[in-house]
Each structure stands twice: as C-alpha cells, then as structure tokens.
C-alpha cells in the first residue's frame, strides 16, 4: 500500500515537472509557432534568478514564484522586441537566431557565475508514508504545476486577452482589421511564455542545482512534450506530459534509469508516428 502511494507520488511528480518545463514552450512554440531553441536557457535564467536571490537573503518562495517569472518574462519581452518580432513566419531564421541566443546566454552566464554547479537546499523537509520517506517539495512542485496549468487555461478561455491572443495566432490580419494591435499581443504572449519557463527554472533549481549548460537537459524534453501534445496548448501539454511522464517513471521503477529515458523517447516516436499532429490534433479537437 505505502509503495503504491510512493510510486504514484513519483509518477505525478514526474508529470508535474514535464508540465512545468514544457508549458512555456507550449505558449511560444505551440501557440506562436516560434521554434525557441533558447527555451532551455530561459529555464536556466529562472534557476539562476532563484539561486542569486536566495544567496542575497530573499525568501525562496518569493524568489521562485514571483522573481524568477518576472525577471525571465521581462527578459523575454526584450528579446521579442529586439529579435523575434522581425522573424515571425521565418522558421529557419528563428531557429538560427534563438540558437545563437542560447549560445550567447550560456556564455554570458558562464562569464558572470562561472561554470560550476551551484544551488540552494531543497526546502520543506520530508514526510513519512508507511516505510518510506517522501520529499514534501514534490507536493509543492505538483501544486504549482497544477495551479499554473489551470491559470493558463482560465486565462486563455475566459479573459479578453486570452481570446484576442488565440485569435491573433489564428489570423493576425483579421484581428488587426478589428482594431487590435497584434504586435502588442505577440509581445505579451511571448513574455508570458518566457515567464512560465522562468517559473519552471525557479521550481527546478532547489532540486537539481544550476549550471550554465543546464538548459540542454530540458530543451529536447520540452520540445518532445509539446510536439506530442499537438496544437492545444494546455490540454496537449497536460496529456503528453501524463503519458510520457508515466512511461519514464514506470520504466525507471521496473528496470533502470537509462531505460526510463529510452522509453520516453520511444513513446514519443510512436506517438508522433501514429498522431502526426500530436494528441490534440486528432483527439480532444478544439480544446485549449
């Protein structure tokens, strides 16, 4: 019984971290069709914001829930205004530009903080379930991932900006002809995507520590999750995270950690082969 609880906790935690690291990309790539190869570095910046803030004596939760998304969101806004906005619709150019951005960010952070792993302790301690110990931070991770998903869904579904943003991504000219400044919509949507990535970095930092090159560990997983998810930003990310996260953790438990990663990749390949438009391209059509 206690083993079942703990395995369930691991599976849900794994899903939650996949949701967190991919939801920002789901907005930027899934919605805006911008192939952001610097996504991992957005996460990394969020992580460094938290580590720097905590070392400066700021409360960890303030740092990871407020500061990290804020800093990376503003950074994303600047990047959109200075680089991305000239490249909408030019996929290859965007890839090159964001790849360059990713290299530049790794270099800049290395120069400032050095190429060594630093980090902060994982807070909240642990809890006993039968014969096992569980890290309470897992629950925080799950809670934040759930809250983020619900908030994003509600914002896209119910708010005026959410509807305008979705309309803009579908047909920018039509929206512009109705008197909306689509440039602003693009900029703000990109900033929101960046802020979500920053939040992910902030939440991951106490678990894995930060190092300038850490983005590489997340960018591939995030793209795989978003592509498998398909066009619906929230539902797609949630569904594919659930599927891939359970596969990864399940296989890790049953065999070895290497096979966890392998099964995640194989799962994604089969998924994309069977459903080329992603899960929400065929099922749950029309969801957000």
């Amino acid at each position: 019984m206690d083993l079942a609880v703990i395995v369930l906790d691991q599976v849900v935690t794994s899903i939650a971290s996949l949701v967190l690291i991919s939801i920002g990309l789901a907005v930027i790539f899934g919605m805006m069709r911008v192939i952001n190869l610097a996504h991992g570095e957005f996460i990394m910046l969020g992580g460094y914001t938290v580590v720097t803030a905590v070392n400066a004596g700021i409360n960890l939760w303030l740092a990871s829930l407020i500061l990290a998304p804020l800093v990376v969101g503003v950074f994303g806004l600047i990047i959109e205004r200075t680089i991305i906005r000239f490249l909408y619709g030019r996929m290859i150019d965007t890839m090159l530009a964001t790849w360059g951005l990713s290299l530049a960010l790794v270099g800049a952070v290395t120069m400032i903080f050095g190429n060594t792993t630093s980090g902060v302790s994982t807070p909240l301690g642990s809890m006993r379930v039968g014969r096992y110990e569980l890290s309470n931070y897992d629950f925080a991770l799950i809670g934040i991932a759930a809250a983020t998903t619900i908030a994003l869904w509600a914002a896209l579904r119910f708010t005026r900006f959410g509807i305008i943003a979705r309309a803009t991504m579908q047909n920018a000219q039509m929206v512009a002809s109705l008197g909306v400044n689509s440039n602003h919509v693009y900029a703000i949507t990109f900033a929101i995507g960046a802020a979500l990535s920053g939040l992910a970095g902030g939440m991951i930092a106490p678990l894995s520590g930060v190092v300038p090159s850490m983005g590489a560990q997340y960018v591939a997983k995030a793209f795989i999750t978003v592509i498998s998810g398909g066009s619906a930003v929230v539902a797609g990310t949630l569904l594919s995270s659930t599927l891939l996260g359970s596969l990864d953790t399940g296989a890790t438990f049953l065999t070895r950690p290497v096979f966890g990663e392998v099964s995640l990749l194989i799962g994604a390949i089969i998924l994309v082969r069977a459903l080329p438009q992603g899960i929400t391209g065929s099922l749950f059509k029309g969801s957000i």
């Binding site: 083993l3 691991q10 792993t117 630093s118 980090g119 642990s126 897992d138 106490p206 894995s208 990663e261």
Partner: protein
C-alpha cells in the same frame, strides 16, 4: 589572478610569438632554446573544470617552485597550458600539437579515462613522455605513461570493509556513472563487498546528465540497504545528494563514495546535505602533516583564499610533476628513455600527499591512502593507510617482463 590560458589567449600568444619569431630568425635564440618546455593538458573550461582548475593551479605552482630554485639541469622550465574545454576531440589535437609543434619534454594531464585513452596512443607514437595524475579504474599498462593517482585496490579495498564495520551493515546499494569509470568501479565495489561477506542489492547506472533521482531514491528505500555507495560523477549528479537529503534519507541510510568531494561537492552542498558522507582518496586537504600545511598555505597565497580547494588529482599533479623533475635530475637529461629508466629505479617524492614512489612493474605509484568523513563542508580524516601498492594493476601488468606492452587491461574482477 588565476593564470589560466584559454584557447583564445593561447592563440594570441602563439600569434604574437610567431610574429616575434619571424623577426630576427637568423639569430639563434639562445635563451629560448635553453628552456625546457612542458605541457599541461586540462579542461580549464566546460563541465569538467570543477576537477581541473585546482590541477592546473598545482601544475603552475610546481613549475614555479622548481624555477625559483634555479630550474632543472640549470635550465628554466616553460609551462604551456592547453585548455581542452571538456571536449575529447581537443585532447587528440593538443596532444599532437604538444608533441610535434612544441616538442615538449613531458605532458601532464587528462582527466577522464576517455581523455587519457585519447592522448595515450598519440604520445606513444610521437615518443613523448606522459604523466596521468588522476585516480581511475586501474589496468593501464604502458611504459610511456606514469600514473600518479590511486586505483581501487589502494582506496576502495580499504573503505568497503571500513564502512561495513562502522555502520555494521552487509547490504550495499550502488549508484554509478554510466561510463568506463563507473562501470568498472561498480564491479570493484561488488568484489570487495562480497569478499567481506556482504551483498550488493542492486547497481543503478546513470547517464552523466541525469539529474532527477526521485524514482531511484524510492527504489533504494524499497530495497532497504544498510549502505549506499555513490560512484556518481559531475555537476548534474550532485543533485542526487540534495534530493537524498530532501527526502529525509540522510538520517536513515549512511553513504560512502568513491567520487564525492573531487568536485569539492562537500563545499558546494550545505553541511546538512553533505555531512557524514565517507570517501577515500590518496590525499585530503585536511591532512595534518607539516608538508601539507605548508603546501596549502603557499597554494592560498598564490591563488587566493577563494581558489577551488585541493583534491587528490591536484595534489597528485604536484607530486607527479616533482617526480618527473626527480627523474630528469637523476638522468641528467630530458631524453624520454633516460628519464623513464631513471624513474623506473623506484624514485620517490615526499610532498603534501606524503611519499609517492614509482612502481617499476606497473608505472603506477605506491601511495598513502586515507579515509575521511565530510564534516561542516570540510574533511575529517578518519584513518590512513600508508604506502599502498597498486595491486589491481600489478595483477595484470608487468612492464619489467613485457616492456613493449601498451594497452589498458579491463581487469576481470572476480566476485
């Protein structure tokens, strides 16, 4: 402050040198010809620089020491540092460059076993002497290389029975990095555990970039070992210690490691995360010998109080360079073969890591080994094992009988 030569600086210097050299090329440069060139090939940047920065510092320190005493054979030593940027390809490139273009008398360096195996054949081919100053899995048998670092028989063999007794446990769960070092070391862990009447419950291997250990921590709890053995390597794996402490496991299952501390993990992690972990190396910075205290003082004066702390590999780099210097002095020449023969007579050097003696048959070293426990971000030495022989390698390698051997034996660890 730290005299690091990265590739750009190196290219600049090389270009400037080139320009200068094209000037009065017809006048023989007597001073330059008089310098003995040596190469240091280490990762001054990239993911492995946590290990290499102190090694480079110690090499600089050793060269400066000898130059301050008037050099070797009356000639100054010129150290050329190459930055391999944690990239194996650059090891082959720079080893070739050091051997053919710079014609150095000796190459010091290499960090992972992969980097060593990239350079070793090249330096063999170009007949350039090579010192590998890193602890590793054992088994290299080659007359052109001297290995100044511990192997499992010198350290692990002592630590496993030590922790099994200390924590009165028989069941071990091993976590290891998924490459040759981790794979072979995990086998040694198993052998020494079984030899001492213990049992390995499971061994999990992790790719070097794995940083999520939640499922593994649960698996360990389900298996209920008495001891966890960590053979994890690099920055990403450091998160294991954090997640282990966060899951409240620190208080429940004790941990020993063959790698913890080599990247100064004990200083990066908080005392709550690192305290109590036991490790074993051929050197700890807290060894209280006059030679080591004096060495640490000089290191801090030269590189500053905040320089990365010394580890086995950096202290062994210092010992290794001085061993080579002893060899040159005895041979009265920097000729490769003469230096090798001089070293093979069993030369030794007394330094911060105690007495290190060359073993002719294996070209490894007889070394003092220590077991220590992390305490408040420092090491507390628990026990020392003076003058340990490289018995694992000597079981497969005899360069006295087969001087032309040059391979790495994958030691068949019988369990």
């Amino acid at each position: 402050m730290i005299a690091r030569i990265n590739r750009r600086k190196f290219l600049k210097t090389a270009a400037a040198g080139g320009v200068a050299a094209t000037g009065p090329w017809f006048i023989p440069d007597l001073y330059a010809a008089d310098e003995i060139k040596v190469a240091g090939i280490h990762d001054a940047s990239g993911g492995l620089d946590i290990y290499c920065t102190p090694m480079i510092n110690c090499l600089v320190l050793a060269v400066e020491d000898i130059n301050a005493k008037g050099g070797l054979l009356g000639r100054k030593i010129k150290l050329i540092n190459y930055d391999t940027q944690s990239n194996i390809q650059l090891y082959t490139q720079y080893a070739t460059e050091a051997a053919t273009k710079d014609r150095v008398a000796v190459v010091m360096g290499g960090i992972t076993s992969a980097s060593r195996e990239a350079m070793r054949p090249i330096l063999d081919r170009f007949k350039t002497l090579y010192f590998y100053n890193t602890l590793y899995e054992g088994g290299v048998c080659d007359r052109n290389i001297f290995i100044v670092g511990t192997t499992p028989a010198q350290t692990l063999e002592k630590m496993i029975p030590y922790v099994m007794k200390k924590w009165s446990g028989k069941k071990i769960y091993t976590l290891a990095a998924d490459y040759i070092y981790g794979q072979v070391t995990a086998k040694w862990v198993k052998k020494y555990c079984v030899d001492n009447g213990g049992e390995i419950l499971a061994t999990d291997f992790f790719p070097l970039d794995a940083n999520s250990f939640g499922p593994t921590i649960t698996k360990i709890q389900a298996a209920k070992p008495d001891i966890v053995m960590s053979v994890l390597v690099g920055g990403a794996h450091m998160s294991f210690y954090r997640q282990w402490a966060a899951a409240g496991m620190k208080k429940q299952i004790p941990m020993a490691s063959t790698t913890f501390g080599l990247g100064n993990e004990q200083a990066v992690l908080t005392p709550a995360e690192g305290d109590g972990i036991i490790a074993t190396y051929g050197y700890f910075p807290s060894i209280q010998t006059p030679a080591n205290l004096e060495f640490i003082k000089r290191y801090e004066t030269r590189f500053g109080k905040n320089a990365p702390g010394n580890i086995e590999m950096s202290a062994m780099t210092y010992q290794g360079f001085n061993l080579w210097a002893e060899g040159v002095t005895k041979a009265g020449s920097i000729d490769r073969m003469k230096v090798i023969e001089a070293l093979e007579t069993g030369l030794s050097f007394d330094g911060p890591a105690g007495k290190t003696t060359i073993d002719h048959a294996t070209h490894h070293c007889i070394i003092d080994a220590y077991i220590a426990e992390a305490e408040n971000q420092k090491w507390k030495v628990l026990e020392s094992f003076p003058q340990q022989k490289p018995l694992d390698t000597s079981a497969v390698c005899n360069l006295i009988k087969n001087p032309n051997d040059h391979q790495q034996y994958i030691i068949n660890v019988k369990t």
